[in-house]
């Protein structure tokens, strides 16, 4: 991925900035241009909204076979996390034994290195999760 492609998403990947619909109040992450409930009514009314970073595990897997940019990290725990504001997202869980990860477990987001383009290339940061 080229650098600029990553920069565009920094607010969301570093600070969990999603959107709140100014029409119905629904919070979504990552930002989307239209509210899925209000459709046209939401045009121009989607405001940035920062998530707290707290959520719980809906499902998870332990990944043993990963693309090159993540191959140094295998095996890693990948999970779907339902955030307390409503939206769900996908991220790694770390700082614990993968065997102890459970559905329903409470986690919080933390900023970590996600991957790097090459040994001397751009480093990509983003959210990962740790147990509460």
């Amino acid at each position: 991925m080229a650098g600029v492609r990553f920069w565009r998403e920094i607010q969301s990947r570093y600070n969990l900035v999603g959107v709140k619909c100014g029409n119905c109040g629904t919070i979504d992450f990552p930002p989307r241009p239209l509210c899925l409930k209000c459709h046209r009514e939401s045009v121009g009314k989607m405001e940035p909204y920062q998530l707290s970073g707290l959520g719980e595990v809906v499902s998870y897997t332990i990944v043993h076979d990963a693309p090159k940019h993540l191959s140094m990290q295998v095996p890693y725990v990948l999970a779907i996390i339902k955030m307390e504001e409503g939206p769900s997202l996908t991220g790694q869980i770390l700082d614990m034994d993968p065997k102890d990860v459970k559905i329903g477990m409470k986690v919080r987001a933390t900023l970590r290195r996600v991957s790097e383009e090459s040994p001397s290339g751009v480093i990509y940061y983003g959210y990962k999760f740790v147990p509460l």
Partner: protein, 388 residues
């Protein structure tokens, strides 16, 4: 809308076909289908080609034109369209061919599906498969395609008590069926224990829970039903065609144990066909991962939610069972050349409804169904067929 029939089918061997190029595979399947329908390239009005990722896998885009060129259709400037919806590309190309004939725009249409996966290295393939998910918000954070299906499997286990051995029984069944298919990539029996103990890919899915990397192509010829008897004694009618979308990212879905695109596409196809799940005699489902077949059986209404895994384990969906599923070997054993799969599914169902499926023939099959998913289900395509 005109009624539409399949009058010709062709499929190559699936597998690691080192000596065959992308274009050779596509043309081989097309020529087999044309021979089967007893037509020549001068009879063809349009071509639709399902292909997921020739650009990544063989560094060739514009494969619609490539196929028309090498099939000889180019001398009459026949329109040729490549259709892409990840690994639902083949099923979706079939739908577009069907719509073209049904609408009256074209009479004789060839629908192909082709993919060449073994010219790329394994890493490129992993990344290509992951690109059918949401690249910015799933793949970037480590979401591979098997990892996403693994999270569906884990949730299915959590909600319904589905076991790893039950997932394995999908692979065991499909390998057993694949043994009877001369074109299948794998024609060996495997045991539940071997599937359960296989190298982990994304826990709880092991290597044998995953469909393989494959090369292969398939093609079918469509025409209006009222002209079908001119070409074949055994036309097969397309009686229902349904397509639907779902949230691209798995984490945005309401449920991880049901794919709403399958449910919606099936509803549309069943309504058009005026059939219900219990009318289906044989079906080809999208078992890209073992859990995908379990969830699809439930979403298509062949089992109640949470009961498909037990059904597979008890042989309900094996040859000889109440509804044989993936008699071809499915994606698991026949092989899964991404864009070819949806068309190969149609080839198998046409064989079954013609009564030409050989050792794997379902006795007196009259109505058949195909189900093709793109990625984790952002696209689903369902077709229903009947012996004319």
């Amino acid at each position: 809308m005109r009624e539409v029939a399949v009058i010709g089918i062709g499929v190559t061997k699936f597998g690691e076909l080192w000596d065959k190029s992308y274009r050779e595979l596509a043309i081989e399947a097309g020529l087999l289908a044309m021979k089967d329908a007893k037509i020549s390239s001068e009879d063809i009005d349009a071509m639709y080609l399902g292909n997921m990722s020739a650009g990544r896998l063989v560094e060739q885009e514009h494969v619609g034109a490539l196929a028309a060129d090498y099939a000889g259709l180019v001398t009459r400037n026949v329109p040729s369209t490549r259709i892409e919806a990840a690994d639902a590309s083949g099923g979706l190309a079939f739908r577009h061919g069907y719509l073209a004939v049904a609408s009256g725009m074209h009479d004789i249409v060839v629908v192909g599906g082709a993919e060449k996966m073994t010219d790329a290295n394994d890493m490129q393939v992993v990344e290509t498969l992951a690109s059918s998910s949401d690249v910015e918000w799933e793949a970037f954070f480590g979401g591979t395609l098997p990892a996403l299906f693994a999270m569906m499997a884990r949730r299915h286990m959590h909600e319904y008590g589905t076991t790893k051995a039950q997932l394995a029984s999908v692979a065991v069944k499909n390998h057993k069926h694949g043994m009877k298919n001369p074109n299948a990539q794998f024609r060996n029996e495997i045991k539940v224990d071997a599937v359960v103990k296989a190298t982990m890919v994304a826990d709880p899915l092991g290597l044998f829970d995953c469909s393989p990397l494959s090369d292969g192509a398939a093609a079918v010829i469509l025409c209006p039903l009222d002209k079908a008897k001119k070409y074949t004694d055994k036309p097969v009618k397309v009686i229902g065609s349904g397509q639907a979308s779902d949230m691209l990212a798995l984490h945005d879905r309401k449920s991880l144990t049901s794919i709403s695109s399958t449910v919606a596409a099936a509803k549309r196809a069943f309504e058009q066909a005026k059939k219900k799940p219990s009318d289906i005699d044989v079906a080809e489902l999208h078992d890209s991962y073992t859990i995908a077949e379990i969830i699809s059986i439930e979403d298509l209404g062949f089992s109640k939610p949470g009961e498909a895994a037990k059904g597979v384990e008890n042989g309900e969906f094996s040859l000889g069972g109440r509804l044989p599923i993936n008699t071809s070997g499915g994606l698991k054993a026949r092989g899964h050349p991404l864009g070819a799969t949806g068309v190969a599914q149609v080839v198998e169902i046409v064989h079954q409804l013609r009564g030409t499926a050989g050792e794997r023939q379902v006795k007196d099959a009259k109505v058949g169904l195909t189900h093709n998913l793109g990625g984790t289900g952002g696209t689903a395509v369902v077709h229903i067929f009947e012996r004319a």
